[in-house]
């Protein structure tokens, strides 16, 4: 199953956050690591899609004063999600191993 680029980074961020996080934390992680601003609306659209694929599960968490009393929605990485990411990255790694020597040659030749 193909996983979109934004789906990947979100799943990775979720993994980096020990498998469990709410929207703001994920957005923050993406910004810190990738300097990438993802609007919460877009974030939730992707998370909903991931939930539909069975990669993440969610529940409604508690509200905090810093959220103006609004509740948070918390996501957890599911085994299926973790497996899918692992397989996806294994494939990428295989692909990359064969590709890197060529990349080195081209890159150095070009410079």
């Amino acid at each position: 199953m193909a996983i979109g680029e934004l789906e990947q980074v979100i799943l990775l961020a979720l993994a980096a956050l020990k498998g469990e996080a709410h929207g703001a934390a994920i957005a923050q992680e993406l910004e810190d690591r990738l300097q990438r601003c993802v609007a919460p609306g877009a974030l939730y659209t992707v998370l909903d899609r991931l939930e539909g694929k069975g990669f993440v599960e969610s529940w409604i968490g508690e509200s905090t004063p810093s959220r103006g009393g609004r509740r948070r929605k918390v996501y957890r990485l599911c085994p299926a999600g973790a497996r899918a990411m692992r397989e996806w990255y294994a494939g990428i790694r295989d692909l990359a191993e064969g590709a890197f020597p060529v990349l080195d040659v081209i890159a150095e030749g070009a410079s």
Partner: protein
């Protein structure tokens, strides 16, 4: 709606306002199931961002992320969504959704909404009260008449004389030849005594009619039939009568079939052929009539000669009513009438004597007779002007309030505009809001109008039926709608335009309470206008109130308390024999004197005090008799002076022996008449010549002091008194003094009068004071309404000033805080606030005094005992206004003086 309460961390920073506005506008566009989480996340992130990058950058990121979160297209309830919706569903749907949203907005701000509704309500109420008065007096259709606006009074006049009247044959000729008229009729007044079998006679107003009277008025009978045109000509039977429902009630039992019954009118027997329906009482609201008889009945009713009535040189027909055919204008009908007059004048030499000189004028609309209209118009004009002024003042208030609100909401507006709302759409939305506000104001206004109406309830003006309070009919509702339109446009247009012209970028950058100079100038200008208008009204109200007070303060020269009078009309046809008259007079005096509580009774000729007087000539010598003085004359019985506490300043009053007429006729003069005739008041014993037609030698036996008996006038009456009875003394008036204020006394006196004069109609005795009240009704109503209006105006202007000053003080709070921080004390700060207000008040006062001068010259002719330029009234009004203005500024000044500099500066 946005799934959360207020900003937790938005404790007042200017930029957090941007976030709040953005959230309100964009929030609804977020998917409902995610909205809460998205907004919560954004708050959390915003906190992190501001710690990391600063407030400003955090805000920018917040907005970007918020807009980026809108997925799945813009939904309804957001600006682009609405635009698309409107494009698809048409403009009506867009307006409807604007209305819905406006209602929601107003409900979110109940205090503002109520203040605006009440403010506008006061103004609309004042204007509505004036309109209600006009409506009650003039606009309500005449009862029983079909389309009174489509008919007209016709006035025939010669070059220099108005309403000259025309002859019967000429009226017939006009009726026969006019082609553009649906009908024309004459109706002439006769006062008669009417009675049915076993019922006391009553004074009844009757019309003798000729022509299409009932047909053209569209009157319907409730029983029997009405007089047709054919029954009113020279050859018709005079002895048939149509009566009003009111007369039927007073003369017959409800169960009686009155058709065919006999009616005794001035001694002749008439047969009732019909009763008019719908309360019909003639064509003049101020002069209701209860009996209609054919024109030829004029002969038996007034004892005149039949030949005179239909003579070609008589001018007995004075009052005309006509109705142009459908589609024919009044002007065309009038032109035809005048052409007809010229043709008739040339064709017939008999008519020619004066017909070609005649000119016909149509006065469209039946309601009040044309003669009364010149009196009504200026008074109602003044009231209408006052009503409009009071309507304008709250419009300025509300415009100010809406302007301030628009300023506060400019962040929200900026976001709206950024999302594509056009200038026109934002203005429309703002206008819809002000329409809603004006509508609720109009509802309040109807209540206020009712309250104001109560202050003049029961007053009767110019003989028109008494104003019995404010009633709502379609005309009043139509007025309310117009008032809503006007107030909504006046109060909402300016804020709407300003709102629409906001620069979104600038507003987002500094969406604070920053006030631009132009807008504050505008608000100051409106406040100045309000103060000016209210001062204008206040001066007018004070001048009129003083006028009324001055009039009541005039010394009538007689005692008014406990004095009543009743006039008994003895009919004009067969005056009683002189022996019978003496018995009648004796009976009246004796029976009334015997009534419990009556202290004194006297008789006099004609109608008595404050109801007009007969006049006669007086001269000091036969040589000056060619140019006698024409003065009010009262024929009175002995005891009349004593009854009214009038003491002779020289000579004596009348004695019983004076009536016997032995020797020269005794006459008593008022001081001012004696002074005019002789240049002095020591005139007892001097000879004068008096009489109505021929002068008779008389001796002055006494002089009384200044009296005002016909009306409360600046100059005392020049009047003369002669012994009662006079040769011509119908009606006779009984003047009665009652010991204490006994409410049952008039009824008891009436019974005694009825017993003493069984053959004649007897009215209820009327207090002299109430007659004076009637005479002063116009000034009193004007004064009372103007005082109420100016009170309202001052209150509203004070409210407006408060708003402007408070808003200005809030805008300067940073300046004040700094001043306090560097050592200014509270008094100094309060002075600053007062100074800003003082400029407004001073400018308003200057303009207002000029306006007051304009208004007072307008009402100048109605003023009495006070000059239109009376300095005391002007200064007093200005001082009162200044006092109220000071009160209005006191609260904001105190608030400014108590500013805590630390919190204020931190907030800023």
């Amino acid at each position: 709606m946005n799934g959360g309460g207020e900003d937790a961390n938005g404790s007042g920073g200017l930029l957090s306002r941007v976030r709040r506005h953005a959230r309100r506008v964009v929030g609804p566009a977020l998917r409902r199931d995610r909205r809460e989480f998205i907004l919560g996340d954004l708050e959390e992130l915003h906190e992190l961002w501001s710690a990391r990058y600063g407030r400003r950058a955090a805000d920018r990121r917040y907005l970007k992320a918020l807009f980026g979160s809108v997925g799945g297209g813009w939904r309804r309830g957001t600006e682009p969504g609405r635009l698309r919706h409107e494009r698809r569903q048409g403009i009506a749907a867009g307006v409807l959704s604007d209305v819905r949203e406006a209602i929601r907005t107003l409900r979110r701000q109940p205090v503002l909404t109520v203040i605006v509704a009440v403010t506008l309500g006061l103004g609309i109420g004042a204007a509505g009260a004036v309109f209600g008065l006009v409506n009650e007096l003039l606009l309500r259709p005449l009862p029983g008449v079909r389309n009174p606006g489509g008919a007209a009074f016709v006035e025939f006049s010669e070059a220099d004389r108005r309403n000259t009247g025309i002859s019967g044959p000429l009226a017939e000729a006009i009726r026969a030849s006019a082609t553009l008229l649906d009908g024309i009729a004459t109706f002439d007044y006769v006062g008669v005594h009417a009675s049915a079998e076993g019922v006391r006679p009553r004074e009844v107003r009757a019309y003798t009619v000729f022509g299409d009277y009932f047909e053209l008025l569209g009157v319907r009978p409730v029983a029997g039939r009405l007089l047709s045109a054919g029954e009113t000509g020279p050859q018709s039977d005079p002895y048939v009568a149509v009566i009003s429902e009111q007369l039927r009630e007073s003369l017959f039992a409800p169960s009686d079939d009155v058709i065919g019954q006999r009616l005794d009118v001035n001694g002749s027997t008439f047969t009732i052929i019909g009763v008019t329906a719908g309360g019909f009482g003639g064509t003049d609201r101020g002069w209701t009539v209860d009996l209609w008889v054919p024109r030829s009945a004029y002969v038996p009713l007034t004892n005149s000669l039949r030949e005179r009535l239909w003579a070609r040189d008589s001018r007995l027909n004075q009052d005309f009513v006509a109705r142009p055919l459908p589609g024919v204008s009044f002007a065309a009908a009038e032109a035809e009438l005048n052409a007809l007059l010229r043709r008739l004048g040339e064709a017939e030499p008999l008519h020619g004597e004066y017909v070609s000189e005649l000119h016909a004028t149509l006065h469209p609309g039946l309601n009040v007779s044309p003669g009364l209209r010149p009196y009504l118009r200026p008074a109602l004009g003044i009231l209408a002007l006052a009503g409009i002024l009071v309507l304008l003042i709250p419009c300025a208030n509300v415009a100010n309030l809406l302007l301030m609100r628009a300023l506060k909401a400019r962040g929200e507006l900026a976001v709206r505009r950024a999302l594509g709302a056009s200038t026109a759409r934002i203005a429309r939305r703002a206008l819809i809001e002000s329409f809603l506000l004006a509508g609720s104001g109009a509802l309040t206004g109807l209540g206020v109008a009712w309250l104001i109406g109560r202050t003049v309830q029961g007053e009767s003006l110019w003989g028109l039926p008494g104003f019995d309070g404010f009633s709502v009919d379609w005309r009043v509702l139509a007025f309310a709608c117009i008032a809503v339109l006007v107030t909504a446009l006046l109060s909402g247009l300016l804020p709407a335009v300003l709102a629409a012209r906001f620069d979104p970028g600038g507003a987002l950058r500094d969406a604070g309470t920053h006030v631009t100079g132009r807008q504050s100038e505008l608000r100051n200008g409106m406040s100045i206008l309000q103060i000016a208008l209210s001062l204008t009204l206040l001066v007018g109200g004070i001048l009129l109130a003083r006028t009324v007070r001055n009039m009541y303060a005039l010394d009538p020269g007689i005692t008014l308390d406990g004095v009543y009078s009743a006039s008994i009309d003895m009919g004009r046809l067969q005056p009683p024999e002189s022996g019978a008259l003496e018995v009648l007079y004796r009976n009246l005096l004796d029976r009334v004197q015997a009534v419990r509580g009556v202290r004194g009774v006297a008789l006099q000729s004609f109608y008595g005090p404050y109801r007009g007087a007969l006049r006669s000539n007086i001269a000091t010598s036969p040589e000056t008799a060619a140019q006698p003085v024409w003065v009010a004359t009262h024929w009175i019985t002995p005891g009349w002076f004593e009854l009214l506490d009038i003491e002779p300043v020289a000579g004596r009053s009348f004695r019983p022996a004076d009536a016997a007429r032995s020797g020269r006729l005794p006459v008593i003069l008022t001081r001012s008449l004696a002074y005019r005739l002789f240049g002095q008041t020591a005139v007892v014993g001097r000879t004068v010549h008096v009489g109505m037609q021929t002068l008779e030698e008389a001796a002055v036996v006494g002089v009384i002091g200044d009296v005002r008996l016909t009306r409360l006038h600046a100059t005392p009456d020049e009047a003369l008194f002669l012994p009662f009875p006079a040769a011509q003394t119908n009606p006779v008036t009984v003047v009665i003094r009652v010991a204490d204020s006994d409410p049952a006394a008039p009824a008891r006196i009436r019974e005694a009068l009825e017993a003493a004069a069984p053959a004649f109609p007897v009215p209820e005795p009327e207090a002299l004071r109430s007659r004076i009240d009637d005479q002063l009704a116009e000034q009193r109503i004007l004064a009372r309404l103007l005082v109420v209006f100016s009170g309202l105006a001052v209150l509203l202007a004070a409210g407006g000033l408060y708003g402007v000053v408070a808003f200005g003080a809030t805008g300067r709070s940073r300046e004040f805080a700094i001043r306090i921080a560097v050592g200014a004390d509270g008094t100094g700060i309060a002075t600053l606030v007062f100074r800003s207000a003082a400029l407004i008040v001073a400018a308003g006062t200057a303009v207002g005094l000029a306006g007051a001068y304009g208004l007072s010259t307008l009402i100048g002719s109605r003023l009495f005992g006070v000059s239109p330029m009376d300095p005391l009234s002007y200064v007093g009004a200005a001082a009162l206004l200044a006092a109220v203005a000071t009160l209005a500024c006191w609260l904001p000044a105190r608030a400014a003086a108590r500013l805590d500099p630390v919190t204020t500066l931190k907030q800023e």
